[in-house]
Symmetry: C2
Subunit: 342 residues, 2 copies
C-alpha cells in the first residue's frame, strides 16, 4: 500500500481555513473573489493567511482550475532595443497583478513562432501577446481556436486575430520620406537590414513616397537579410554610395543603421546634413544627443507593451476594451541631420 506523502511543515489552504474557522473552499474563494465572502469571514481568512505566511501553490491551482495566470509573450529578438522597451512596458503593466509572464524568442522565424505557440497554448495561458501580423496559417488557426485574449503588437492591419496594438510602418516610413522631400532633398537612398515584415512595409512606404514624387529609382535601395548593427550601417551606406554616388539623403530602417551611416560620413569627411541628410527609425535615446543630432521616426514602444498587457488584463477581468485595434501612431522627430537644404 502506498504511504501517505504528507508534507509536515507546509502551510496549505486547509491550514489557513482551519485557523480562520471556515471551510477550505471559503478560504479559496477569498483569493479568487473576495467580494463573495461576508466581511467577517473575509477579515478572518485574510489575517489567518497573513499569520501563517500562506503562499498559494500555483501548480495545484492551475491543475484544479484548468487555467494558469501566465501571459505568454512571443517576440522575435531579445537583443533589439525596440523589444526591450516593449517588454519593459509589459512587465510594468503586470507588476503587482496576479499575472506573470512567459517569454519566448522566435528569432524572427514564423516556424519557430508556430512551435512556441503550440507549446504555450498547450499550457492554457491566461493570455497571449505576439509580435506582428504575419503568422503562419496554422498559427492563426490555433490562435483562433483557443479561448484567451490575444494581442498582436508592433503594427496594425486588417483582420486581427483578437486585439491589436501598433502603428503603420508603411505610413511612418512614408512620413519620413515626405519630411526629407519637404526639406529639399530628392535623391534619397534607402538602407534596410534584417528585412522582417515590418521593415518590408517600411520599404513599401519609401517606395510609395518616392514613386508619388516621381523620384523612385531602384538603384537607391540597398537591403540585406543580415541582422542589423551599427557596423552594418556603415557597410551598407558605403554600398549605397558606390551604387548611387549622387544621393543627397538616406533613410535607414532603424537607428543603428543611421548611426553607422553617420560614422561612415564622418570617416569620409562628408558633412551631415550639408552633403548628406540622414533619417533613422525608432528614435532610440542616442539619436537626440549625437553630433549632429539625428532625425528619426519616434514610435511608442513602451506604451505599446504596457497597453497590450493592459488589454489582456482588462479582457480577463471582463472589461474588454471597446476598440480591439489601437493605432498608437508615430512622430517624425526633425533634427539637425535632416535640416533644410540651403
Amino acid at each position: 500500500m502506498a504511504r501517505k506523502r504528507i508534507t509536515p511543515g507546509k502551510i496549505r489552504l486547509a491550514e489557513v481555513a482551519k485557523l480562520a474557522g471556515v471551510s477550505p473552499i471559503t478560504a479559496s474563494r477569498f483569493f479568487r473573489n473576495p467580494e463573495a465572502l461576508s466581511a467577517g469571514k473575509r477579515a478572518r481568512v485574510e489575517s489567518a493567511a497573513k499569520e501563517l505566511g500562506y503562499v498559494p501553490n500555483l501548480a495545484a491551482r492551475a491543475l484544479a482550475s484548468q487555467r494558469t495566470e501566465v501571459i505568454g509573450v512571443l517576440i522575435p529578438s531579445l537583443t533589439n532595443n525596440v523589444f526591450a522597451d516593449v517588454l519593459r512596458g509589459i512587465y510594468d503593466a503586470l507588476d503587482g497583478s496576479r499575472y506573470s509572464i512567459q517569454l519566448a524568442n522566435t528569432r524572427y522565424s514564423i516556424l519557430q513562432e508556430e512551435r512556441l505557440l503550440r507549446l504555450f497554448l498547450a499550457q492554457k495561458p491566461a493570455g497571449l501577446i505576439i509580435t506582428g501580423i504575419n503568422q503562419t496559417a496554422d498559427s492563426r488557426r490555433v490562435m483562433e481556436a483557443v479561448d484567451c485574449p490575444i494581442v498582436q503588437i508592433m503594427e496594425v492591419g486588417p483582420s486581427p486575430i483578437d486585439m491589436m496594438i501598433g502603428f503603420s510602418h508603411f505610413d511612418a516610413a512614408k512620413a519620413a520620406i515626405a519630411h526629407l522631400l519637404a526639406q529639399g532633398y530628392w535623391r534619397i537612398g534607402f538602407l534596410g537590414a534584417r528585412m522582417d515584415p515590418r521593415v518590408q512595409r517600411r520599404l513599401d512606404g519609401y517606395r510609395a513616397a518616392m514613386t508619388e514624387a516621381a523620384l523612385f529609382d531602384p538603384q537607391l535601395i540597398v537591403t540585406t537579410a543580415i541582422p542589423t548593427s551599427v557596423t552594418l550601417g556603415g557597410t551598407l551606406f558605403a554600398d549605397l554610395l558606390a551604387k548611387a554616388p549622387d544621393i543627397d539623403a538616406v533613410f535607414c530602417v532603424n537607428d543603428d543603421l543611421a548611426l553607422g551611416a553617420l560614422f561612415e560620413c564622418k570617416r569620409r569627411h562628408m558633412a551631415v546634413p550639408e552633403q548628406m541628410a540622414i533619417v533613422g527609425f525608432n528614435d532610440l535615446e542616442f539619436m537626440a544627443s549625437s553630433e549632429p543630432t539625428l532625425s528619426s521616426v519616434r514610435t511608442n514602444r513602451y506604451e505599446m507593451g504596457r497597453n497590450a498587457a493592459m488589454m489582456v488584463i482588462e479582457t480577463l477581468e471582463g472589461r474588454r476594451p471597446a476598440e480591439p485595434v489601437v493605432d498608437l501612431g508615430f512622430s517624425v522627430m526633425e533634427r539637425q541631420s535632416s535640416a533644410r537644404r540651403s
Copy 2:
C-alpha cells in the same frame, strides 16, 4: 453529489499508456527517464505519444512531483544591453531543454529582489540565476535554505551562495586605466552613472590604479545615481570638464556614457584622441565602428548567461561542475580613441 468533470477530447497520459499497452506510470517514466524502459515499450510509448499528439500537463506534473522545471532569472534591468546579451545566452542554453525561464526585473533594488526571490522560491523552481553578489542578508538566508542550484552572475567574489560566474569589475577597470597610463595619458577622469555595486567596484578599480600611479585626484571623478544614457554621457563629461579642464582622458563606466562623451567632444571640436582619450566599458557592438573607433573593456556577457544556465542544468542532471566559481575574465580592446599620445 459532485459530478465528474471529465474533459472528453483531451489526451492525457492515460490515453497514451492505453494505446501503447502499458500502465500510465510506465508511460510517465518514458518522459522522465526513458533509459529505465525496455527498448520495446519505449518505442511503443513514443509512437503512441506522437500519434495522439500528447502534450504533458505541466501543472499536474509540478503538483505530483513537488517541483517545477522552471529556472528563475533575476536581473536588474530589461533595457540595459548588457543584460539583453546575458539573457540571450540563457535562453539559447535552455532552448530545446525541458526547462523554461521565469524572468523578473529587480530594477536595481535589493529589496525588490528579495520580494521577487521569495515569490520565486515559493513555487519551487528547478534553479535560480541571480545578478550580482550583493543580496540582502535575508535574501541570502532564504537562498541558502532552499535546495536548488543557484548561480550568481555578472561578477565573482568570495563566498558564493552556490555557484558563481562573472569577472572582476575591479580588475577590469584597473586594466583599462593601466592601458591609458601606458598610452601616455595621466590626467584621467572618471564618469559613472547608476552606481550599482558593480559600477562601484569599477570606481574602486579606477581609484586603485590612479593611487598606485600617484595620480589620484577626487576632482577627476563625476558620478550620479541617474540611470545611464548617451545623453547623460555628454552631460557628465561637460561637468567633468568644468571641474577639471586639464584632463587628457576619460574612463566611462559603460559604453553609452563613452559615446555621449565622444559626441560632446565633437560638439566642442575636441579631437579624439589627440586632445581627449576615451575608454568605455562592455564593448557593445557600436564601439568598433564609431569614428573614431572607441576603446572599451570587453566582457563575455553572452557566455556568462549561457554558462550560468548550463551550470544549473548540469547540477540538476547530477553532473555538478567541478569548479563552482568561474571567472570569465575580460579584455581591453585598444582602439583609436586611446591611441598612444604623440
